[in-house]
Amino acid sequence: MISGALFRLISSFSYFIVAVSPLPWWYTSIGGVINVYDSPFFVNVYYMEQNLSCTLVYPINLLLISLRLAEVFTSIVYSFSSVEGIVKGKIPDTPLFTFYVSLFYLLDLILFSVIDYFMIGKLIAPVGAFKENVSLSRIPFLNLNGDISAEITNYPLPMFYVTLASGLFSLVTAIVSNDERKITRR
């Protein structure tokens, strides 16, 4: 019981740390010309040396900042309920946001590979540095003629690994909590 309560407390606290941390999770560079540092709570886009996060991509960032505030609020509520759970012996719910969101990033890579396969006709590992050749006429909505060839660099940053670890820990905590509930019902 104590271990479950401790798990829930650590899980809620790590969720809070992930939500308040301003560090980006992922880095993507298109030929060194467009550099993107992103997380589900903020997107930093650099076009050459111009930072576009407060101008061109601000409408997206406005929603992401709101999401961060909502998640910080939820993580505080979860932290209080896990402390309350220790004091009163209750089994509160476990936050799984960090697990789902890190899973989403990994699914995103698979989606990128699938789109890439249909556009270029070959499968590329979407992590690390790789060369990409895209015929613009294959992208119908751009209405452009020509080709783009770029060296793409795409990799997770340390904060992503922190989130993934927090997410996996939350999943373990959710399983432990479910087992505890079953035992308590008996």
Binding site: L56, L63, S66
Partner: protein, 113 residues
């Protein structure tokens, strides 16, 4: 918990939206971004004079660029411009193929003439 989460999200979004000057303010930020992008994009113009037709390229970027046009390649330093002669045969095909290389990115433009 979910209702509280959604409520905080909606209230924060509304407050940020109003702080940033609602639709007009956000639209202005977006337009400023478009201007930043256009300022950082090299400009191409076709110049015609008594000695022939040229492609004038102005490098507005902070890094050197390479422009290639039918075998002619020119390296242009930041804030400098260059002209590349356009062969008359180009006008028979009605298209100009310009390859722009910036750092590790190269773009092939096909301009209709």
């Amino acid at each position: 918990m979910k209702v509280g989460n959604i409520l905080v999200f909606l209230i924060s979004a509304l407050i940020l939206f109003l702080i940033n000057g609602s639709i007009n303010g956000i639209h202005e930020s977006y337009n400023q971004g478009l201007l930043q992008v256009s300022q950082e994009t090299p400009k191409f113009t076709i110049v015609e004079n008594y000695s022939g037709v040229y492609l004038a390229v102005n490098n507005t970027l902070a890094v050197p660029i390479k422009v290639a046009l039918y075998g002619h390649q020119v390296k242009i330093s930041p804030d400098e411009s260059a002209t590349i002669p356009i062969n008359n045969s180009v006008f028979k095909t009605h298209e100009i193929r310009i390859t722009l290389t910036v750092e590790n990115l190269s773009i092939l433009f096909i301009e209709r003439v």
